[in-house]
Amino acid sequence: MSDSEKWAWWTLGVVVLTIAVYGAFVAFVKSGHAALVFGLLALAALPASRRRYFPCRHFDERERAIAIKAALVGFYACWLAFAGLINAIGFIKGWNATLTVPVWTLIETLCWALILVLGVQSLTTLVLYRGGPHA
């Protein structure tokens, strides 16, 4: 298994863990802000702090191609979700409506966007490593 695949599995694990802990927090712990759980996402940076992004680490052309594709798919998914959310709010609340959003909600939304990017990016990485032309 290559380093990139190990990174993808690790990141996917962190994403699943974060979602599970968030769900448990919302279900069982009624007080406090569930957004604190998103601090677990920092675990996703652990492989990067070891050697993945060390300057001496050599990525060949296939690994680079997969990393670029996976990042693009991740951000594309985020963009789709963003467009869907904006349209949903516009159609439900009306396009001239004013929203008053707590800062915590804003932070949670950004964290969910990060989860979406990381999840899709790691899944795409795993799929591309497992086959298909140019993968």
Binding site: S2, H58, D60, E61, R62, Y129, G131, P133, A135
Partner: protein
Amino acid sequence: MPSQEPEIKNHIRRLRFDHGEMTQDQLAKQAGVTRHTIMALEAGKYFPSLLLAFRIARVFGAPVEQVFEYVGQVPDLL
């Protein structure tokens, strides 16, 4: 009527065998890529860049067309 999709076949596995049963790891190191990329190439799951194709051909001391082979018809764009 089945359509014949153009693809690039390679003879890396045979050439490795002809070169003293060179391992994938040895070839990968000499070509400057990872062993996983050599595995993907041999399995036909990855088409290399021109640069990598020439590097692999150089490892075997053979012209690139002896290592890689274009199979299929050139699409008629006119």
